[in-house]
Each structure stands twice: as structure tokens, then as C-alpha cells.
């Protein structure tokens, strides 16, 4: 029998792609709101506030939530859940202002950490010289 599709009025729901079927957690670790829901800073969920997928660890956060966390110096650029250095999957086709801020914050924390390590080395060198 001949059946053709002429027109659609489809209704669908959208979901963040976690890219990893093993992740069962559905809540942002910071605000405790579902990934597909609105972060406390936004009025609407969606493109304005994409889900940031952890690259080093498997923890995911709303963009604005992780931004706020990393803006604090005390965060030291670590994941608030597992305390590993926070990195995220950058497989977006566009980079928004907020994502750019996130990149810069992560870089900032990285250089801070590098400087601290350098200082530690320097003082270690000094100690060695003193003992000489």
C-alpha cells in the first residue's frame, strides 16, 4: 500500500547529551537541580546555560554553576565533587561569552598552580644553596 508522509507536527523533548551511558547522576553537583532544568541564575534552561561535561572526571555541571565555583580563588580550579583539576569537553560548535569565561578561568587557575609549583621549587633550590 502507498503511504507517504506529507507533513509533520512533531512534539519532542530535549535532553543534554551526557555522551556517556554509564552516568546515572542527573543532578548538577553544585545547585542540585536536574541537568535538563534551569540553573539558579537562569530563567530558562537551554543554550544560554549548556551542560558542562567533566573531561578529567565524570562530573557535570550547569555552565553558570561551575563558573561561579571557579570564580572563587579557593576553588583552585578543582572539581567541587572529586577535587581533581577540572577540565571539560570542548566539543561545542560555537563558543559563547560564558564558555569563553570558563576557559579563561580554568587557564587562570592552571597558571596559578604552575606558579605555586615554581615557587616551591625555587624555595627548595634556595634551601639547597643555603645548606651548601
Amino acid at each position: 500500500m502507498k503511504v507517504e508522509i506529507v507533513d509533520w507536527q512533531a512534539v519532542a523533548s530535549w535532553h543534554w547529551d551526557l555522551k556517556d551511558d554509564s552516568i546515572t547522576d542527573e543532578l548538577c553537583g553544585i545547585c542540585r537541580v536536574a541537568f535538563d532544568g534551569t540553573c539558579p541564575n537562569c530563567k530558562y534552561p537551554g543554550n544560554e546555560c549548556p551542560l558542562i561535561l567533566g573531561a578529567g572526571c565524570q562530573h557535570n555541571f550547569h555552565l553558570h554553576c561551575i563558573l561561579q565555583w571557579l570564580e572563587q580563588d579557593t576553588s583552585k580550579g578543582l572539581c567541587p565533587m572529586c577535587r581533581q583539576v577540572f577540565e571539560f569537553r570542548k566539543d561545542f560548535n560555537t563558543v559563547t561569552k560564558d564558555i569563553n569565561s570558563l576557559l579563561m578561568l580554568i587557564d587562570g587557575h592552571k597558571s596559578m598552580r604552575d606558579r605555586e609549583v615554581d615557587e616551591e621549587f625555587d624555595s627548595f633550590d634556595d634551601d639547597l644553596r643555603m645548606n651548601d
Binding site: V3, W8, A10, A12, W14, G37, Y44, G46, N47
Partner: protein, 603 residues
């Protein structure tokens, strides 16, 4: 009948008979002369001598009083005319004796008439007389007027009435010094007349009456009373008192009608306005206010608070109570008192929220609570509520307000209904469900209408309460006619449970939507909701707009000529009942044929 002899034998008192002197003959003659045989005889010379002798007796005056007291004639009460003539005769007789003896015997005479006047029969006679004739006095000029001159010649009934009273009865009353008693009776008749007038003429609360009552008092009642009472009390001037009495009678009637009046609102507005006028007329209306409240509360309890009355009618009555009682008392104190039991009752009605929500939202004429929708549409013009502490126009609550009286909450119909419930959440949930369904089945026209309504509701319920609906609207605004994308967490009431899967070919087609969506949506992907989706199919040259399940079933016949029910159930994860219904639809459309246990295409 107790005779004087019997009384005397029990309470022996000295009378002129008891004086044992040589004057016995004189006394006998004197007593014979003063025994009641009107009119008083002119005494003969012998009697004159006897009188001369007896008056010198020690304490004669006292003996005389006692004698008159004991021998006073009974006055039978018949018609007013006869009775008054009778009284006149008795009075005349004894006052003649007094005059002849040169003694003041008025105390005993007045005392006897006082007793007569207080007899219920006589009171009744006077009340009936005034009741019948009262409104006919003003045709005659009162004798108080110096120019008193009865109308000559043309003496109708009215003129006669006045004449009879002023010429014949009034002088007697004046002589008896019983003006106060008469005044009391006249006033009681006045009140009776006013009551009758109000009950006979003013029952219809859809009309105004105060002016006509005032007019009636001023033209019919007051002139007659004035003419009558001025002849007794020259300073009589009680117009405002009489008006107050009549207003009180009038409110009394309206208070008894209060429940029906509220029910009849707005037709009963005249009655409510006049109730307000009269209740505020005088400060002493507290009793009446209390009576109004208690009568109304009793009625609410017996007429409204039972499960036989449907919720719509209860809400209608609630609105009428607010509107009516704000007319009666604009401060809302009475309203606050009468509305409480109904509020407590409505709170536990199962369907109240649903009915209120529909009432607020629906602007069609089929809305039985359209008053709520109209009220909501006025929200924009509503003055923003100023909080009590910074309001420069603040005034204290009225003294008879209950301690938790809330002025603004009580006066606004919507605010009043919302505040029945402790939380607004139940309303918001109902709105969300209602608008969610509307949005899913939308037309463009609907959306602007829905947005307008939601903005009005935000003014009432608070902006932030609607964040869920805001997201839903945003979803719809971001969608295209071909594809509606929902933020599923916020549509949980609308998205149904899955009732089956979708035919592979439809899924393939849908994948295009997904691909397009993903391009502009970071890492988001779409899941079709088959139960809400629709597709237009051309089957055998004819177009059908059906849901995904109907489409999926018919798609199965694309490559096969014959499909069994069990195959549909298995392939599309549908339950047998749903699958059977879908197949039945296509059979009824003539697209499929049912042959035994299988379905075949009907090309």
C-alpha cells in the same frame, strides 16, 4: 362583684356613717345628697343646713375622700362616645360637689380616673379609636390655634372627627390631667401605623423607599400627630424622632430580608444602599449591626453550608456577599464577620480550585463564574497595594473589627478567594496544567491571549510564581509549526506515559529534525513524544492527520499486505486494546479490511 360592704368589713375605715353624734340625721341627708345620682341636685334648705353641720366635723375632708372612694360608680366601657359621656358625667357630678363645698377633691377624682384609664379594656378602646381616626385630625384646626374656627357648612367625616375629639374628648382628658397617658397611647398607635405602613408598602428591596417613607411621615403622619399632641403638649416637636423610629422599623424589615437580598444582588442594590444609609444614620446602630450579622450567619449555616449546593453556586454567593456587604458597610468590617464560615467551608470543597481557575481564565459566555474573569481583567487598573507601614493615608481599623481584620484582603473579590487557601501553589499548579494543554494544542491566536491572561494572573498571584509557565511559553515561542520542543521537566503534567514505539520509517524522518536541532543546540538531542505528535499521511491518495501510533500501524502495511493484531502489539510495543482500536480506526476509514484474525489492505 366585691361590694363596698365586703371591703369595709375586711378593712374597716371610718366614713361619715361612723360618726355617732346627734348629727346622724344631717349625715344621712348629706350622704344621700352625694350618692351618685347625676346630675347633682341643687341642695334644698334642709340639706344646706345639714351640709353646714357636717363640714365642721373634725377631719371631714378625709372622711369625704373615703366615702367617694367607696361609692365611686363603675364606669362601663362600651363605645368611645358613650364611655366618654359617662366619664364626663361622673366627673361633672363630683367636681360640682367639690365646687359646692369649696373643697379640692380633685386628687381622689383623678386617682379614680387614672385607675380607669389603665384598664386594658379602656386602653384598647382608645387605641382602636386613634387607630381608626388618627389620620383624619389634620383637617380640623387644633384649638391650640388662637384662630380656631371649625370649617362652617361643609362638615365631612374628617371635620367631624377632629371636632368631636377637640370639643368633646380633649376637654375631658385635660380636666382629668391624663395628657401623659394619652400621649403614650398616641405614640404606640403611631409606631403601629408606621410598622403597618412599612410592612404593607416597603417589602420589595429592589426599589428605594426612604424618600417615600419620609414623605409619608411628613405629609400624612406628622401633621396629624402634631395637631393632636400639641393640644396635649404645646412644645411637641419630634419630627426627627418619628423619622428615626420609621427608619429603624424599615431597617428591621431589611435585616430580616438580608439573605434573600444578598441572593438577589444586583437587583437588590436599592435595598442594600438604603440599609447602608440607615445603619449609618445614627451611631447607636450597633445593635442592629450585630443583629444583621447574626441573622445572616444563621442563614448561611442553614442555607449554604451543606453538600447539596454545588461549588459554582457557593462561589457565586461568595461574590454576592462581598459585593452586597461592601454596599452596606464600605469598611468591610461586617463583611469580614459574615464571610468567615463560608471561607472555612469552601476550603474543603474538592473542586473549588478547578472551578476558580476556570472562572478566572475563561472569557466565554458559558463561564458560570464570568464575574471572576471580568474582575481579573480589571487587575491592570488596580492600584498597587501599599504596605501598611509606609502608607501615608493609613487609618486605624474600625473599632468593631475583629483582631485579624485585613482590609485589602477582604474587599477584593479575587484576593479574598485566593486567600481562603494558605498557599497559592495549588492555584499555580492548576494554571500550569490548564495552560499547558492549551499551549500544546495551540493556535497563534491562543498564544497572545494566553500571554495576556498570564500577565493578569501575575499581578494577582505574584510574578515569580509563574516561572514554570514562563518556561513552557518560551518553549512554544521557540518552536516551529513542524516541531515543538519541550523542556520536559516543566511539562510533566502534560507529557503522557509512553503507550508504544514508533515505526522505523517515522523515526528515520524524525532524525532529520534531531540533526537540525543538534546543530544549533550545543549537546542537546531530541526525543519524540509520539502521544503528542501528529503527522499528515497520504494513504491511497487521501490525506489523514493522525498521531504517531495511528501512523506507525498503517506504515506496517507499506510492505506487507497482511498484518495480525499480535504483530502490531509485538512490533510497536502497544497493548492489545490500543492496537485493536487503532486498527479499528483504519478499518472504519476503509483503508483496511478485517479478514478473520488478520487485517489486509483494501486497495
Amino acid at each position: 362583684m366585691i361590694s363596698t360592704d365586703i371591703i369595709n368589713s375586711i378593712f374597716p375605715r371610718d366614713t361619715l356613717n361612723d360618726i355617732e353624734t346627734d348629727l346622724e340625721n344631717d349625715l344621712a341627708l348629706f350622704l344621700e345628697w352625694i350618692s351618685f345620682k347625676p346630675p347633682l341636685m341643687d341642695p334644698s334648705p334642709r340639706i344646706r343646713v345639714a351640709i353646714k353641720n357636717v363640714v365642721n366635723i373634725n377631719n371631714f375632708n378625709g372622711y369625704l375622700h373615703n366615702s367617694i372612694n367607696n361609692n365611686f360608680p363603675d364606669i362601663t366601657i362600651t363605645t368611645i362616645d358613650e364611655t366618654m359621656m359617662n366619664i364626663k358625667q361622673v366627673y361633672q357630678f363630683y367636681s360640682d360637689i367639690g365646687k359646692f363645698l369649696g373643697l379640692d377633691i380633685s386628687p381622689i377624682i383623678n386617682y379614680k380616673f387614672q385607675i380607669l384609664l389603665e384598664k386594658p379594656q379602656f386602653q384598647h378602646l382608645l387605641i382602636t379609636y386613634f387607630d381608626d381616626n388618627l389620620l383624619q385630625f389634620d383637617d380640623c384646626l387644633s384649638p391650640v390655634s388662637p384662630k380656631f374656627n371649625p370649617p362652617a357648612g361643609d362638615k365631612g367625616l374628617k371635620g367631624d372627627t377632629g371636632d368631636t375629639f377637640f370639643y368633646q374628648y380633649l376637654p375631658i382628658f385635660n380636666q382629668l390631667n391624663v395628657g401623659d397617658n394619652i400621649m403614650k397611647i398616641v405614640v404606640s398607635v403611631l409606631i403601629k401605623k408606621i410598622k403597618e405602613y412599612i410592612l404593607n408598602n416597603c417589602v420589595n428591596y429592589e426599589l428605594f423607599f426612604i424618600d417615600s417613607i419620609n414623605q409619608w411621615i411628613k405629609t400624612m403622619i406628622y401633621p396629624n400627630f402634631k395637631i393632636l399632641l400639641r393640644s396635649i403638649d404645646a412644645n411637641f416637636n419630634y419630627l426627627s424622632e418619628i423619622l428615626t423610629i420609621s427608619h429603624n422599623e424599615f431597617i428591621s424589615l431589611r435585616i430580616n430580608q438580608i439573605f434573600d437580598m444578598v441572593k438577589a444582588y444586583p437587583q437588590s442594590e436599592p435595598g442594600l444602599i438604603e440599609l447602608n444609609k440607615c445603619l449609618n444614620f445614627k451611631n447607636e446602630s450597633h445593635n442592629q449591626r450585630d443583629r444583621l450579622v447574626s441573622i445572616f450567619l444563621d442563614k448561611i449555616d442553614s442555607e449554604l453550608l451543606n453538600s447539596g449546593i454545588n461549588t459554582i453556586n457557593l462561589i457565586k454567593m461568595y461574590i454576592k456577599i462581598i459585593k452586597s456587604f461592601l454596599i452596606i458597610d464600605a469598611k468591610g468590617v461586617l463583611l469580614d464577620k459574615v464571610i468567615r464560615p463560608l471561607r472555612a467551608y469552601l476550603k474543603h470543597r474538592d473542586d473549588i480550585i478547578q472551578k476558580l481557575v476556570i472562572g478566572l481564565i475563561d472569557d466565554s459566555s458559558s463561564n458560570e463564574l464570568i464575574a471572576l474573569n471580568i474582575e481579573l481583567s480589571k487587575s491592570e487598573k488596580r492600584k498597587l497595594k501599599i504596605d501598611e507601614f509606609s502608607d501615608l493615608n493609613w487609618v486605624p481599623d474600625p473599632i468593631d473589627a475583629l483582631p485579624d481584620f485585613k482590609n485589602f484582603k477582604i474587599k477584593d473579590i479575587i484576593e479574598s478567594l485566593i486567600s481562603i487557601f494558605d498557599s497559592k501553589e495549588i492555584f499555580i499548579n492548576e494554571f500550569t496544567k490548564f495552560f499547558g494543554n492549551k499551549l500544546i494544542n495551540r493556535s497563534d491566536n491562543d498564544i497572545s491571549k494566553i500571554l495576556k491572561l498570564i500577565n493578569l494572573l501575575k499581578l494577582r498571584f505574584g510574578k515569580n510564581e509563574f516561572f514554570n509557565l514562563d518556561i513552557m511559553i518560551q518553549d512554544i515561542l521557540n518552536s516551529s509549526p513542524q516541531l515543538t520542543v519541550l523542556s520536559h521537566l516543566y511539562w510533566s503534567d502534560i507529557i503522557p506515559e509512553s503507550t508504544g514505539s514508533v515505526h522505523e520509517e517515522l523515526n528515520k524522518e524524525f532524525a532529520h529534525f534531531n540533526k537540525n536541532f543538534q546543530k544549533k543546540s550545543f549537546n542537546r538531542y531530541l526525543k519524540m513524544i509520539p502521544e503528542l505528535s501528529k503527522v499528515t499521511l497520504k494513504v491511497n491518495g487521501k490525506n489523514y492527520q493522525v498521531d504517531m501510533h495511528h501512523a506507525s500501524v498503517i506504515m506496517m502495511f507499506k510492505d506487507k499486505e497482511e498484518v495480525g493484531l499480535d504483530e502490531v502489539v509485538r512490533e510497536l510495543n502497544m497493548n492489545e486494546y490500543n492496537a485493536g482500536n487503532v486498527l479499528k480506526f483504519w478499518v472504519e476509514e476503509g483503508v483496511l479490511l478485517k479478514l478473520g484474525g488478520v487485517y489486509v489492505t483494501n486497495d
